[in-house]
Symmetry: C2
Subunit: 215 residues, 2 copies
Amino acid sequence: MSAVPEPMDATAAPRTRPVRGAAGERRPVYDAASLLAVSVAEFNARGYDATSMEDLSRAAGITKSSFYHHVRGKEELLRAALARALDGLFGILEESQAQNGPALTRLQHIIGRQVEVLTSELPYVTLLLRVRGNTETERWALARRRAFDASIASLVAEAVADGEVSAEIEPWLAARLLSGTVNSIIEWYRPGRPGADQLPAQVVWMVREGIIPPA
Amino acid sequence: MSAVPEPMDATAAPRTRPVRGAAGERRPVYDAASLLAVSVAEFNARGYDATSMEDLSRAAGITKSSFYHHVRGKEELLRAALARALDGLFGILEESQAQNGPALTRLQHIIGRQVEVLTSELPYVTLLLRVRGNTETERWALARRRAFDASIASLVAEAVADGEVSAEIEPWLAARLLSGTVNSIIEWYRPGRPGADQLPAQVVWMVREGIIPPA
DNA sequence: GTCTATAAGGAGATAGAC
DNA sequence: GTCTATCTCCTTATAGAC
């Protein structure tokens, strides 16, 4: 895997102070985290490549030059966003290493947590899942994402070997469809949705039982 | 839905004749269908916005100007590709209108056919599923795609109402996860894969029964 | 911190010779 | 049908005044 420079920390303390106009009207807060959030929203709306630095600065309410005062460049914004998404996902794997028990139980837990991360870090994960591999940064993110998927796949294989998961389908296919199902949430989930707290359990149920009613 | 001009027919007879060098070395065949195929492959490799007309012409083995002799512009290529994908998907719905029987049976048939179209028209459907809505053409494709998904969703709702499909999850959620599962095939399926003819049945099995082994 | 102005290069697309 | 040359606009990014 290629080395990638240190990511900007999107959760760090603000680099700059909030600015308010003399009349008290709201102006955007220009710290690293908020500019990243604004940028990622734009990237997701139009696609990374179709979004210009002009678009980003306009969304932030400042000129392009001022925007460059806070941000090194377009690709650094992308890298910071992808790092945040990947940190969320790999955090799940770290948690699960502390657990033992049947593979299926661990798998279900991971799926539920994955849904939680997808929804809580929605813009960042959305960007990650759309990366194509055009730059070194994107290829780094793709490689890390593949490593995550491989972990899930080996857990599925383990559950199949233990007889806890159906062997009707090859394990690698089950794992891919499983990841596809979970990841597809980004296509329609939007924050503030009522009953979002039940979504992880519902997704777990769906991949466990399918759409046919239990006998 | 917005009106969109007539799509170029990617399956029409070649507009131009194959060209061979004097020494007999192979040169690309420059008809509308093959240039579209080459272009769509490039779009999928890098993303539509990140792919330049220079990239396309180089992939076709001619200069950009020569490429423009065969093709009106970048967006027309996109539109032709999206139209082909949508024609494949809506063809499934037309077939299914001729059928009657339980909603679940029709749903399973549609899912299987959808997998077949995804794999047989892989590059075109891949492009369709990544459209963001930046231009009128893209918004037209998105609207048509939404209409397709809505048809599936209403069939799921019908099956739930008939008691054929589990009511444990809300019908709209089941429909979305179902579409997400099927569409995720584009992320990993590659033509020539052995056992590809069994894929539709395996996907249908997975969404029916889930990953838990039948009792 | 923000701005105007601008550099340097790449994009989509066309003109016109052969 | 293919090419070289070019147009025009947009892109990322920087210089330097305030």
